[in-house]
């Protein structure tokens, strides 16, 4: 399988079939609501909703590494806020001589819930949406096709470049270049490696630009899309629900 940077997991579920734009809207709404309604239970509720969607999409297992990755950030939030939050007054507990405060820990909990909420909402988007579909949807909504191309090609070109770096490194090693050892050795090895990589990439970019030109990339015709997605009634319903929830949260914020 050719390497791509995509995290997309191929499954045949309702969540996978939801319009990409609706998934982006879900992310935006999920990020916005805890900010509009700054109550702990709101973020927790959204986390539970996102977890349900991830379970429905059968991709929950893929989320665990993302959460593990964020643990360090969350721990640092808890430690810093628990110790140094501006409003710290009530002592929660001591570890050795270090004192943690309730106010700080409460604030850290709110922040952590928001971070996890954002992470899970994005996970729904990236794990259940083909990058090409997402970019095509954005191009249809007015994103520049050039920018769309840069985004979608980067997902495949970067892994290809990394494999080219591996080949160049092997070639340089076979000519006696030391690439492993202390920092000084590695710095000395950097330039003979980076030179061919950069030059090779520039040449490839120029050749690929020509190949794109002759495939009518800059055509003024209105583009068509092979994977044209029919706008389903469920898409409109989902969009309506998301806008309603967002509007409701704004109204609640004003009233409460």
């Amino acid at each position: 399988m050719a390497k791509t940077l995509s995290l997309y997991v191929e499954r045949n579920t309702f969540i996978h079939r939801v319009d990409s734009i609706n998934k982006i809207l879900y992310v935006l709404v999920s990020v916005a609501i805890p900010l509009i309604l700054p109550y702990k239970f709101v973020a927790v509720l959204l986390i539970l909703i996102s977890i349900s969607f991830l379970l429905l999409a059968k991709v929950m297992r893929r989320v665990i590494p993302l959460i593990e990755f964020s643990v360090i950030i969350l721990l640092s939030i808890v430690i810093i806020q628990g110790l140094f939050h501006a409003g710290n007054k009530t002592v929660a507990f001591h570890i050795a001589r270090i004192t943690f405060y309730k106010e700080g820990l409460s604030y850290a909990f709110t922040l952590s819930m928001r971070v996890i909420n954002i992470l899970l909402a994005f996970a729904i988007l990236v794990l259940t949406t083909k990058p090409s579909e997402l970019i095509e949807a954005l191009v249809k909504k007015g994103l520049s096709p050039r920018f769309g191309y840069v985004l979608s090609s980067a997902l495949q070109i970067i892994p290809q470049m990394m494999s080219a770096v591996g080949s160049i490194m092997d070639a340089q090693r076979s000519r006696g270049l030391e690439t492993e050892g202390n920092l000084a050795v590695r710095i000395r090895a950097f330039f003979p490696l980076i030179g061919p990589v950069v030059m090779g990439s520039l040449i490839e970019t120029r050749e690929r630009a020509m190949a794109l030109e002759v495939r009518a990339f800059n055509s003024r015709e209105k583009k068509t899309f092979l994977n044209e997605r029919q706008n389903l009634r469920s898409d409109n319903v989902i969009r309506l629900i998301l806008f309603s929830i967002l509007s409701l949260s704004i109204v609640l914020r004003v009233l409460l």
């Binding site: 050719a2 791509t4 191309y149 070109i157 030109e213 002759v214 009518a216 899309f225």
Partner: protein, 284 residues
């Protein structure tokens, strides 16, 4: 009908002092298979790029003369417009993959989507080129998973799907192994049978001798000769232009075995074999 008309084409790359093309003129009829040969820096690739409009639209530089492709003036039309009439396949199969698509099927659709071709027609054309270039079994594969020969066939398929009347191939087999080269030559042969005009730069002289209707010999930015393969490969000064006659021609020349009807040495294996058999029969 004339598909390509080139009149006194001169071109100099930006920052270069020398002309890469020095007043080239020639014409090509529809359906012809033209082989372009010559040593490195003879101007073969520059000529290819001038035919598809990359020279001067992409490279800029100093340009004069007239190039008409199926009635379209290259200078007056942009590359995208020209791509409806003429397509090009480059040396490196890897850099012709757009990297924006995840399957062979979608990769072929890329140019058609840009041209705004209707989806039904797009699908029809994709199915046709997949069959023509024997890529059907790879249609769901990622283009980067293909071998060099398969990748080059995909590049050709992507261009054919755009239905150009002319295809320019700039050493399409130079980076391929013998099997990959053979795959590409077979594909080009089937295109030629479909009536597509082909301009092909190639160092594999035996292949050019086998397939080309006419051969263009280039040197130092000029067309030295433009004639049928038998006449081009008969030239005594061929080596001066960095080109050797096909091995069959050289063997028959050393044995003085000629085609009695034309008075010329054979240039293909089949022709050489036939003449040698006849020669042996006459001797015995």
């Amino acid at each position: 009908m004339k598909k390509i008309i080139v009149e006194n084409l001169k071109y100099r790359y930006p920052l270069s002092e020398n002309l890469a093309l020095k007043g080239i003129s020639f014409e090509v009829e529809g359906g012809e298979f033209i082989g372009i040969i010559g040593r490195n820096l003879a101007g073969k690739s520059t000529l290819c790029q001038a035919l598809v409009g990359l020279v001067p639209h992409f490279y800029k530089g100093a340009y004069s003369g007239n190039v008409e492709i199926s009635g379209m003036n290259v200078l007056e039309n942009n590359i995208s417009e020209l791509s409806k009439k003429i397509g090009i396949v480059f040396q490196n199969p890897f850099t012709q993959i757009t990297a924006a698509k995840l399957t062979v099927y979608e990769e072929i659709a890329f140019g058609l989507e840009n041209m705004g071709i209707e989806i039904k027609e797009t699908i029809r054309r994709i199915e046709y080129v997949l069959h023509l270039l024997d890529l059907e079994k790879y249609k769901d594969r990622n283009p980067f998973e293909l071998s060099g020969g398969q990748m080059q066939r995909l590049a050709i398929a992507s261009i054919i799907a755009m239905k150009p009347e002319i295809i320019v191939l700039d050493e399409p087999t130079s980076q391929l192994d013998p099997q990959g080269s053979e795959e590409v030559f077979k594909a080009i042969q089937s295109l030629s049978r479909e009536g597509i005009t082909i301009m092909m730069v190639e160092q594999k002289i035996e292949k050019i001798a086998q397939y080309a209707d006419r051969v263009m010999l280039m040197s130092d930015g000029e067309v030295v000769d433009f004639d049928v393969p038998q006449k081009i490969f008969l030239r005594d000064d061929l080596l001066n232009y960095g080109v050797q006659a096909p091995v069959f021609t050289r063997v028959c020349r050393s044995l003085n075995i000629k085609n009695k009807n034309t008075g010329l040495y054979p240039v293909t294996l089949d022709e050489a074999y036939e003449l040698m058999v006849r020669h042996e029969q006459n001797r015995s």
